[in-house]
Symmetry: C2
Subunit: 304 residues, 2 copies
């Protein structure tokens, strides 16, 4: 049996000082809590860090990361385009293999409680871990950001799930939760007309009447003379990537515009590609057991 | 580093007596020469056996299989729809990972030589292993079948690559070679008109002007009231499965017919699905390193 694996994707409020990011990341990463992706964004002044590991090793690693981030990041002087409320802004746990969403929820609670107890940083549980419906949305929790959180946290409605209702003076507050794997998927359109990208984003996203598990915005791509529909697919099994792509393409054609190409930002689960292929090829009864390498791994008991 | 792996797909001339097939297969299979697929065909009276293993273990296993098949199969009494010339009719080696086509060719020669020396079965090298251009085609070697091989083998033009030019009295002759992974891909059409399937097969296959690495036939599917374009894709990197599917679909539409569905017979390499997905999604600069699980295997050094 392969060992159980989760993904954990802490977002920290530092995306400019490479040496600080490296110090924070290396505090967490090791043999059993593996760094698999790292994306610094200087404009956002934020870094998205992707670890994979067995649950307990991942939890231990992430607590080391929080320890170092609380020491090294001071939100009182932080500026960046992306909204944020904490030195470690958000910590989602994601099932990868051999673990359930319930396992991720349980681990997120354990880590959240430890963060509040060890570092004095109040913690909110969000998404699948949320203690109330209105706390599922990270955006709702983060509203007001670091600067206005000292007031918000006194509202009994916004009492933290762990820790006292007192914002950490330099590290703010942190959201910890569990969610499904998120695919960041951008479709580039062969036009410079930003209004078209915005219209298509509005057509496909859930919030304005589109597909259930799609978030979307329209952007211009500076210097390339084209526009982009930038999306997060928050549940790729229920709202598959190919259906999203086909809808964007179809909507674009209504405006006389073709899709130039598309891109995955970060990583995509293998299953999402298998099912896009099976769908486009109209494969009847496709299962991953039809894949040579899956059968080999099964035969040799690899992937442990 | 993962260990090097090849696939080997012996076809034996026995597809009815399950106990004989099991005996022959179990002579070969073990820890290091793993059976991953087995397809008995009673109509063809033939079984396609798929092993995967490290090259030397695979070679040793296959020689045990030949030993048992030569003992247990008597071509003098063999009947079946599929053309055949030997108890073990053909043994292709296929690169899977960490081995080149040249490695497969070298192993096929080694195994071919051993078969002739140990069992007195003359061996022809075919496809990538062929000693002359006209021997690349298995169909050309097999022409005349078991019954007419005693004459054919005396023709200096058809002298075997290994062994004396004397057909084994009960086990015939065997072809051994190296080739790329072959995808067996069928597209089912929502019509009962066999002529349409045959026309489309003729349009897409190489031999009559179609795509370079496609073999195709049109069949009726008894009892289902539909027809099928049944294909072998002999080089899926050069003639990708999605391009083949799209062409079949497009040709069908010319006849006012839709694709009902399609099916993979046996196994499909992961890469073929990745690239079908990337192509249909117009993914720019896709590489397997964008796949979560590939990155995890890389990070944890799994797949050894």
């Amino acid at each position: 049996m392969p060992s159980p694996l989760m993904e954990c994707v802490p977002n920290i409020s530092e995306g400019r000082r490479r040496e600080v990011v490296d110090e924070i990341v290396s505090a967490a990463s090791g043999e059993r809590c593996r760094l698999i992706d790292l994306a610094l964004d200087p404009d956002h002044n934020r870094t998205v860090i992707t670890f994979v590991g067995e649950p307990e090793a991942l939890a231990a690693g992430v607590l080391e990361l929080v320890a170092r981030a609380v020491e090294r990041i001071d939100l009182r002087t932080h500026q960046g385009a992306h909204p944020r409320m904490g030195a470690v802004d958000v910590i989602p746990f994601v099932p990868v293999r051999g673990v359930s969403m319930a396992d991720c929820v349980a681990l997120s609670r354990e880590v959240g409680e430890a963060i509040a107890a060890r570092f004095g940083v109040p913690v909110y549980l969000y998404e699948e871990s949320a203690s109330a419906e209105e706390r599922r949305s990270l955006a709702a929790i983060r509203e007001g950001e670091f600067e206005r959180f000292p007031d918000k946290i006194k509202d009994p409605h916004w009492r933290p799930d762990f820790g006292e209702p007192i914002v950490h003076p330099t590290a703010g507050v942190t959201a910890v939760g569990a969610r499904e794997f998120l695919i960041a998927f951008n479709v580039n359109l062969a036009t410079s007309d930003l209004r078209i990208a915005k219209k298509i984003a509005a057509a496909v996203r859930f919030s304005s009447g589109g597909l259930r598990y799609v978030k979307a915005l329209g952007f211009g791509l500076e210097g390339r003379g084209i526009v982009q529909v930038s999306m997060n697919l928050t549940s790729f099994r229920k709202t598959p990537i190919l259906r999203v792509f086909d809808l964007v393409k179809h909507e674009a054609e209504r405006h006389g515009v073709l899709v130039q190409n598309s891109e995955i930002v970060g990583l995509v689960p293998r299953e999402a590609l298998y099912f896009a292929a099976a769908s486009t090829l109209q494969l009847e009864d496709f299962s991953p057991r039809s894949v040579l390498e899956e059968r080999i791994e099964e035969a040799f008991g690899e992937g442990r």
